[in-house]
Amino acid sequence: MSGPERPTDELAQRRRRAVRTALVFGAIALAIYIVFILSGVIGR
């Protein structure tokens, strides 16, 4: 049996959404790192 052909643009859209998700979580990780060190510096 064969599945329906997915339009290429839908797959591309999924990829774009995945990149957006990755950028958001990457930014969160970077923010934790920077804010954490800054809190150590400013907190003193």
């Binding site: 997915r6 990755a22 954490f36």
Partner: protein, 539 residues
């Protein structure tokens, strides 16, 4: 044995296009190849870490200093932990995630394949740098894997290399976690709702959130250590107004969730295997998901139970004691559900099931000793003794490592298209069961009797159980080679595996041929009820 194919389009492109060795393995963006690389890397790291543990147990086999200097002994305990945690257990689970998550959710690959390649190839350089420190003047890091200052800042040239290596491992882990989250949230095939995903995907999704939250904290802490050593800051230097105890709080804010990062994916593996070999659906699927999330949440609010003896207000001790005990509730839910899944099941005891049952029993022993350590007055007695060593090895060896071994035997036919020799695999299991318990169970007695950890010599009253423990270690060292032999033999001479080698296995991964083609789900699958690990398409 049903082996219908839920998908339209699979390719063996790696073979058709005749990729060169370098292209395939160094520049690969294929989730299966990268998964294989992760698993091979972790296997090598397990051997190196195990060799270090043999040095430790050789020294401790009898009282007195015999084979290595105390300084080198300290380097071995430190490096053993760093190698096993960051080089063995974590990459092994990332390898399993790479192999299985796209297959289980019907995705063609991980969401960010190039980043996936980069995440892996950072690791060999990070560990080359870490292991290289053993050959530097002054040797490698020897202050324990926790790198507590001021001790960790007193080593020679190793500090900078170690901290840089930890940064690299952290970057690799964070990128891997981002990839898992992006894949699961965006790449699921139509019909695979979040609450119909295999439980392995759920445990990995939650693990990935933990990684994003805590790895930057570790990175921040070791960055501060670095600036304290080389740039005259005083984050943790009491002479400059800093606070070394603050480092311990920060470290364990990372360190306790790290324990769950290493065990939650193993929970997922066991939750896949037990239903298959009990021939029943997983009992309480949603409860398992919520219990996993609850454990992850609780892991953030219990860190100071590692620091009771450092000193803290009584209210703090009581809070951390009871918060820690709360973890037993969602963990108990999981153990109950595994046992209930087996209850009145038509159980068979193939190797993956044996490892999973052993996981449930022995991990529970580690959990119970953890409860003992959570009790503040008791912890004052047990802290920094071999009781703690026994506790976390029951969690991490008979927990995390057993989960990894169970997963390898379970999915091996899908990866390679070959069955392994069941008798040999059972021998591997029973050999390990004997020696792992010889190795770690006596350490409970040693700890309760007061033997301190991280010490190369000890009082003669501890001699007998130390010898037993060392014999266990020597027997355990054989096991990775035994497993390698079984798997190598399977690759060369194993029986051909069908698409669904375990008759009751459910989930999309079993709908593709064995070995899984190089490219799977190039077009999204049409999901039918039998393809889902949990639930029905229509409900």
């Amino acid at each position: 044995m049903s082996t219908h194919t839920a998908t339209a389009d699979h390719h063996h492109d790696a073979h058709d296009h005749r990729q060169s060795f370098v292209d395939r393995w160094f520049f690969s963006t294929n989730h299966k190849d990268i998964g294989t690389l992760y698993l091979l890397f972790s296997f090598v790291m397990f051997i190196i870490g195990a060799a270090m543990s043999v040095v430790i147990r050789l020294e401790l086999a009898v009282p007195g200093l015999q084979h290595v200097s105390p300084h080198f002994f300290n380097q071995m305990t430190t490096m053993h932990a760093l190698v096993m945690i960051f080089g063995g257990v974590m990459p092994a689970f990332v390898g399993l995630a790479n192999w299985m998550i796209p297959l289980q959710i019907g995705a063609p690959d991980m969401a960010l394949p190039r980043m996936n390649n980069w995440s892996f190839w950072i690791l060999p350089f990070a560990f080359a740098m870490l292991l290289m420190t053993l050959f530097l003047p002054g040797g490698g890091p020897g202050g324990g894997w926790t790198l507590y200052p001021p001790l960790s800042l007193q080593f020679g040239q190793a500090t900078a290399f170690t901290i840089f290596a930890i940064h690299m491992m952290g970057i690799s882990s964070i990128m891997g976690a981002i990839n898992v989250i992006a894949t699961i949230l965006n790449m699921r095939a139509p019909g695979i709702d979040l609450l119909k995903m295999p439980i392995f995907c759920w445990t990995w999704l939650i693990t990935a959130f933990l990684l994003i939250a805590v790895m930057p904290v570790l990175a921040g802490a070791v960055t501060m250590l670095l600036t304290d050593k080389f740039f005259a800051t005083s984050f943790f230097n009491a002479a400059g107004g800093g606070d070394p105890v603050m480092y311990q709080h920060i470290f364990w804010f990372f360190g306790h969730p790290e324990v769950y990062i290493m065990i939650l994916p193993a929970f997922g593996v066991v939750s896949e295997i037990i239903p298959t070999f009990s021939r029943k659906p997983l009992f309480g699927y949603q409860a398992m998901v919520y219990a996993t999330a609850a454990i992850a949440f609780l892991s953030f609010i219990v860190w100071a139970h590692h620091m009771f003896t450092v000193g803290m207000p009584l209210g703090g001790e009581i809070y951390f004691m009871f918060a820690t005990m709360l973890i037993a509730i969602p963990t108990g839910v999981k153990v109950f559900n595994w046992v209930t899944t087996m209850w009145r099941g038509s159980i068979s005891f193939e190797a993956p099931m044996l490892w999973s049952i052993a996981f449930v029993i022995l991990f529970s022993i580690g959990g119970f000793s953890g409860l003992m350590l959570a009790i503040v007055p008791a912890d004052f007695q047990y802290h920094d003794t071999y009781f703690v060593v026994a506790h976390f090895h029951y969690v991490l060896v008979t927990g995390a490592l057993f989960g990894i071994i169970a997963a390898v035997y379970y999915w091996w036919p899908k990866w390679t298209g070959r069955m392994y020799n069941e008798t040999a695999a059972k021998f591997h299991f029973w050999w390990t069961m004997v020696f792992v318990n010889l190795l770690f169970f006596p350490q409970h007695f040693l700890g309760l009797a007061g033997m301190p950890r991280r010490i190369p010599d000890y009082n003669v009253v501890f001699a007998d159980w130390n010898l037993v423990s060392s014999i266990g270690a020597f027997g355990m060292f054989v096991t990775p080679f035994l497993m390698f032999g079984i798997l190598f033999h399977s690759l060369k001479k194993g029986a051909i595996a069908p698409a669904r080698p375990w008759e009751s296995a459910r989930g999309l991964e079993w709908t593709v041929p064995s070995p899984a083609p190089h490219h799977t789900f190039a077009t999204p699958p049409v999901i039918r009820d039998g393809d889902l690990a949990h639930g029905d398409v229509s409900h």
